[in-house]
């Protein structure tokens, strides 16, 4: 199961409880044809400090802002080189101090198409090139206009990612870059102030870009990797002094972390995954740290009787 990119998503969600786009997968492996992988994930992240523009501060009237996430994800191999995926998270927020009420609800339904466009042996290694398209939209009528307690940012997002993966023996490295187009959102109010007054309920959401670098061990369906990722909003404005965040802020974050995946030796179709991460730089977002864990199971949907051995390639 490829799930790693959603970790960035959840992390960013956790930071300002903004939802990012393109909750698609970001690793260099594919599901085999007719294999369907599905499973639940749970995650938790929190922050005490956040960046008000570029100023790092705490807020005694929020205390620790935490986000719990429960997600169901699936991935189906249409062919060995073309996978489709989905994710549907339930998100719950909470502030440890002050009076603001945490919110909860189903966030955004995401779909991805992942295509392994090119694969070539180079020396002793193998280079693969991928293209991934993603789309997400709110799956419930939540509000983005109550940050940092909102469960998401409400925009519909279309993402396009290019990715290169190089594996040599049991070692690998993957690099990817993503562009995320975001739709306007609608507030519950008829006017709002950014850096000027707007007499409308509609907010123009700046697009965003992200990159992700990961490297480590990968063999027989298991991996252990370090990652560094960055989310940069292409536009938007800074939170003004002692103001609250707004959905179209310039939200940026750079994180580092570790991802692990381990297929059970007694039942290779069953894998456990987990990660931990922390935020090392940001703007208009919380400095979140957190962890996620999931269990995934692979079902072979092909008509031919097959064993679960193809799981090892996932």
């Amino acid at each position: 199961m490829k799930y790693a990119y959603i970790l960035l998503v959840i992390a960013i969600t956790a930071i300002t409880n903004t939802k990012v786009n393109a909750q698609t997968d970001i690793d260099g492996v594919m599901m085999e044809k007719n294999a369907f992988c599905i499973g639940p994930m749970a995650g938790y992240s929190s922050w005490k400090n956040y960046w008000e523009g570029t100023l790092k501060r705490e807020n005694l009237n929020l205390g620790k802002v935490s986000t719990a996430m429960y997600n169901i994800m699936g991935n189906y191999g249409i062919t060995n080189k073309l996978n489709v995926m989905f994710g549907l998270p339930y998100v719950k927020t909470k502030a440890s101090a002050g009076q603001l009420k945490g919110l909860k609800g189903i966030q955004d339904l995401s779909f991805w198409i992942k295509w392994k466009a090119y694969s070539q042996k180079i020396g002793r290694g193998r280079l693969s090139i991928f293209a991934i398209g993603g789309y997400s939209l709110p799956a419930s009528d939540y509000t983005a206009d109550f940050l940092p307690m909102s469960i998401g940012l409400e925009s519909k997002n279309l993402s396009l990612r290019g990715m290169a993966d190089f594996q040599m023996g049991i070692w690998f490295a993957t690099i990817s870059g993503t562009y995320v187009g975001r739709s306007n959102i609608e507030l519950d109010r008829t006017a709002y102030y950014t850096t000027e007054m707007h007499y409308t309920n509609e907010v123009k959401m700046p697009d965003a870009a992200s990159f992700n670098v990961r490297a480590g061990y990968r063999d027989k369906g298991a991996y252990a990797e370090l990652f560094l990722d960055n989310w940069t909003t292409l536009g938007g404005f800074d939170i003004t002094r002692n103001n609250m965040p707004f959905p179209s802020n310039e939200m940026n974050a750079t994180r580092i972390g570790v991802n692990l995946k381990y297929p059970m030796p007694f039942l290779p179709q069953l894998s456990v995954t987990g990660n931990v991460f922390t935020t090392i730089a940001g703007r208009n977002m919380g400095q979140a740290s957190g962890f996620n864990a999931g269990i995934f199971y692979v079902i072979d949907l092909s008509k031919k009787e097959k064993t679960g051995s193809d799981n090892s390639k996932k």
Binding site: N61, L100, I113, W115, A131, Y142, L158, A191, M244
Partner: protein, 514 residues
């Protein structure tokens, strides 16, 4: 095949991007002002502060046959010969009306300044200083009482200045440049209203002068708007420069009367001091009640505790205490109080999406134009459809905003007279879906503002009276849904607001405009 797929993805991305991200800003849609009536006798309407329309003299204009006047017309023609798209857009923008546009500009300034100061390292809070407006915390903190007062002074002064302007317009009866010289193009709808002194310039003069007092740190922004407005009038062919100069001078003169009133209206002392804050707390304890305590960390001093003593517009301070001040709230030890806390806890526990929507629609909290600004926005949208003259716009905005400021004063009087705690202070399980204001609960400011606004607006636009009353009720209840007010706060606040609005109606009936 796969290339085609990639192509599809690219096309979708492009479609998504081209999928219009343009936003229809309501403010850009307002049509040019085309008054149903010129209100040509408005010079006889009763001003708010002026002793009469001639208190500040306006000299007779030069004749339209003089070389000086002809030169001024030529200035228009030169502009019109080289008019740019940007200038045309500016003419269109300002054509919606001077009162409307400067009201919007004020709402923008309020939103910009509606942020509470961050605490000092020792846990105290700094206060903005009018003498040093650009230093943090910037002056002003445009909270709801401050905003209500700012809107009211500007609106009332605009009204008085335009009454005087209308007097001189009819006295001197100088036609607009496009009428005097038919080769001047009118870029806005033509009007038979005499153009000297310019009503737009009167509004510029009176507003910019008052904004020096109210938003002293935003002079560059304000002066840029003023210059754009002046130029728009000349490019439009609606005014020659001497129309503008006479109008602006009149506006500035009238403003001084309002500046003098503002300096003596006791708002400057409304912050109070630690002795006073402690005394209010102790007084509540002495009455056997649980006093309000700031729920912020560190504890923030209550917002403008002496704002209830600010000078009112529509009634005197005795009337406020005897007629408008609500009965005491349910005692904090009474069963009714416990029941009301329980009601709020239930709203807080599981708010529906619709309740959150209503709470947010009316929240008008940090970084917004405040509830008085919201009612100005509501009035603006409806007034545009009424095709009021500029002077009637000012009169109606004056009535609305004097009501809103008096509502603020009456509400703040009640809040600090009773010093009643917020629901979340009594029951810490109560969490709010909107920001918790840092001042006592009884009565609800939103309810008082909305009661006052809906009442006077219902008089001005009777066809909308029921709609305004419904909106006021929803605004009032939004504070219950947000879990920051008890029902008593809202019910009694709305009642007090309605009373304030009725005083505005009484004035409206006798100001000569009806």
């Amino acid at each position: 095949m796969k290339k085609i797929k990639i192509l599809y993805i690219l096309i979708i991305v492009l479609l998504f991007q081209s999928c219009s991200k343009d936003i229809n800003d309501q403010s850009e849609e307002f049509p040019a002002l085309q008054p149903a009536s010129l209100d040509i006798n408005a010079g006889t309407w009763r001003p708010v502060l002026l002793t009469g329309p001639t208190e500040f003299p306006v000299a007779a204009p030069i004749a339209t046959t003089t070389p000086d006047y002809i030169a001024q017309v030529n200035e228009i023609k030169s502009f019109q010969a080289n008019v740019t798209t940007k200038e045309k857009n500016s003419v269109k923008y300002w054509s919606a009306g001077a009162v409307l546009r400067w009201n919007e500009i004020m709402r923008e300034l309020v939103a910009l300044h509606n942020l509470p100061p961050y605490q000092n390292p020792d846990g105290t809070y700094p206060f903005p200083s009018a003498n040093n407006p650009l230093a943090y915390p910037q002056f002003p903190f445009a909270n709801p009482p401050y905003a209500a007062r700012a809107y009211a002074y500007v609106a009332a002064a605009q009204y008085d200045a335009l009454v005087a302007a209308w007097h001189y317009k009819t006295l001197y009866n100088r036609a607009a440049p496009y009428t005097v010289d038919p080769t001047v193009t009118a870029l806005i709808p033509k009007s038979n209203l005499p153009s000297y002194p310019s009503e737009d310039a009167v509004v510029i003069g009176v507003t910019t002068e008052l904004l020096k007092l109210l938003f002293p740190g935003d002079q560059e922004f304000i002066q840029l708007k003023a210059e754009e407005h002046r130029k728009a009038r000349i490019i439009a062919g609606a005014n020659v420069r001497s129309d503008l100069e006479a109008g602006e001078a009149l506006g500035k003169a009238v403003a001084q009367k309002f500046v003098t009133r503002a300096r003596g209206d006791r708002a400057g002392a409304a912050i109070g001091n630690q002795t006073l804050w402690t005394q209010m707390e102790n007084d509540a304890i002495t009455r056997g009640e649980t006093p309000w305590i700031s729920q912020e960390t560190p504890k923030r001093p209550p917002m403008l505790p002496l704002f209830g003593r600010v000078r009112t517009w529509l009634f005197d301070s005795l009337t406020m205490v005897t007629t408008i001040r609500p009965v005491p709230p349910p005692s904090t030890s009474s069963q009714q109080f416990k029941d009301e806390v329980a009601e709020i806890y239930n709203y807080s526990k599981n708010p529906t999406r619709e309740q959150i929507r209503i709470a947010h629609f009316w929240a008008d909290g940090l970084s917004t134009y405040t509830p008085p600004g919201h009612w100005n926005a509501i009035a603006t949208e409806d007034f545009v459809k009424q095709n009021f003259s500029e002077v009637r716009w000012a009169r109606n905005m004056g009535l609305l905003n004097m009501s809103l400021m008096d509502a603020a004063i009456a509400c703040w009087d009640a809040k600090y007279f009773y010093f009643n705690p917020r629901p979340s202070q009594i029951d810490p399980r109560i969490k709010t879906t909107t920001g918790l204001p840092n001042f006592p609960a009884y009565t609800s400011g939103h309810s008082t503002f909305s009661g006052a606004a809906a009442t006077i607006l219902g008089h001005i636009v009777p066809a909308r009276a029921t709609a305004y009353a419904d909106m006021a009720k929803e605004a009032s209840e939004s504070r219950i849904y947000g879990a920051i007010h008890y029902r008593s706060d809202c019910v009694k606040g709305l009642e007090a607001g309605n009373k304030v609005g009725n005083y505005a109606i009484a004035r409206a009936r006798t100001d000569g405009a009806e």
